[in-house]
Symmetry: none
Subunit: 183 residues, 4 copies
DNA sequence: AATGAATGAGTTTTCATTCAT
DNA sequence: AATGAATGAAAACTCATTCAT
């Protein structure tokens, strides 16, 4: 095949990346072999290495996309966007994405590169919060509330997201509304 | 074949488990080879397999101990102890423990057995909270606040734990309901 | 499919062979991948296979050209030209040529075809020597003196070629038999 | 198997090294796969890597032994030892060793480590010659005469080693004997 | 009880070659 | 004529596990 257009190249890359993401979400980064990705994607082993320099490179690409998706979901209204993000965590359609997230966290422990990416996933919202005038520590707590929800959702399919959201909203009321509100 | 007393057996087991925990915290379960554990522990490969049926078995033992430690720390008074638990997360001396925790979370995705253990780490506190009359969703949020702190501490050594605790306390004030307490 | 004149075909072939020779001299036949040659030559992988049936074929072509060059250099007067040939070995400009030669020697061990070519590089001078009335074994020794010089020059850039030549001349004096010449 | 004695370890190493040397002499370093060595030696792939860090390491070990053998053969009397070395080159029993030598020369072109080893194979005799009062360039020429003989022997099984030796002795006569000897 | 040599299937990665365009 | 995307077999190397001693 001769030089193909960029759309084709992008589609190929997608094909591989989607297969990799599916495998990674299922089995984790290190239990997934390149052969698994080859099988899942339907392309040859050689081609995988034309698009990615190795498994590490694929992991990094997956992580980058995962972060982008999250930040995009946050949108411009930090508070409203935040509750949307929380709700999306509980959506069974996004289960694979959450599973991927946990793998990213584990990988961030041993890979400097991925730690930087994971950290940026916290720092970017923190900067948004700062612009919105929220205390940094509050931003951290809110992010933690999201991170813990990801874990708990994966462990308990019946987690009651609405109650969870209500508690969060309740706790946030003194913060989001005028501070004078007495209880 | 000399017969050895139980204390010796227990000590050997400890020696291996401690080495394994150190390796796992450093590199994760799957990037740690049995040889790594052999090196770190100083015992032979053969002996490792007299104490554990395989790597999976060692992971399970490590996870079980980690879980026990967590639940023990929770102690008798969950409300009073909670902020202390959070503070202990930020203690650099406990860093390996937190790193191990993240690995456990990742492993819970693919192992039913470990998922059950990880889940119990959430369910036990929830039961305690229920006994104390706290809403279940609030218990979940508090656990999330702990989980997220673990992650963020590992990513940012300079995380300001005191500010974090203050925000948590502040958010909880309307809930802990000693409304008169002025600071 | 545009038809192209022979000059174009020859130029293309040259382009590929020159790139291959450069790679082979640098890394040896087997450490050079076809992709290396593709990169060095600037043509596509597909085109390489229109000019050569495969890597082995390229090696054979390179060896053939190298052999031709060697025999050509020998020229018409082997005796007079010999010392010049030795001198040219030490010329840094010919370094790639010498490196290629060593690769050819190594390849001659496993390829009957290349062994025949390499052998002819010895036999042709031997025949010339015979015509000139030189003993066959002397011809062999002279060729050895050249072969060893190739190796030693590649290992030691500071090799003193003039001393080397003087020794050779000195040793040959009783043989070249113009005994009266009192230098 | 428990800790075995050093003789066993040394024998194992020999077993692997001999197999490797046989493969290398037959097919060259780069045409020999680790699997080939595994097959030839009869040990498992894993064991090969307990004794050698990789293929490069095995090549280096082979080269070192090859050099040692040659220097040992040279003995203490440079001139007499030298003619012995030449004679041994033509001995069919040593054919594999000569083939190996040519591979070493080729490898010396791309590997700094092996180049250093190959160079030492020239420098050590040169130092011996210096001690014996022989001019350095003469030592070089003599080494070249040996190197070329290795190549020519491999290309021509019928090479007449006695004539070759006679020519060498003849050429050396003015050097080895008292300079006054008139032919 | 303890060792560590040995295994071999599995891993990631490379590479000569083909062929649709 | 020329491209370069695609293949898949084979390469080097690793690793959990076993077992003779």
């Amino acid at each position: 095949m001769p030089k193909v257009d960029d759309a084709h190249l992008a589609a190929r890359r997608r094909q591989i990346l989607d297969a990799a993401a599916a495998c990674f979400a299922r089995e984790g980064f290190h239990r997934t072999s390149v052969q698994d990705i080859v099988r899942e994607s339907g392309v040859s082993a050689g081609l995988v290495y034309r698009y990615f320099s190795g498994k590490e490179d694929m992991i990094a690409a997956i992580v980058a996309e995962w972060q982008e998706r999250r930040l995009a979901r946050l949108g411009d209204d930090p508070i409203a966007g935040y509750l949307d993000v929380l709700r999306s965590v509980a959506d069974p359609a996004n289960r694979a994405e959450q599973r991927l997230g946990v793998q990213v966290w584990a990988e961030s422990i041993r890979s400097e590169r991925i730690r930087a990416q994971a950290r940026e996933g916290v720092d970017a919202p923190r900067r948004l919060a700062e612009e919105a005038g929220l205390p940094d520590a509050l931003a951290r707590v809110l992010i933690a509330v999201w991170q813990g929800l990801v874990l708990q959702t994966l462990w308990d399919e019946d987690l009651d997201i609405e109650s969870y959201l209500q508690v969060v909203e309740h706790l946030l009321r003194p913060v989001t509304q005028t501070p004078a509100t007495d209880d």
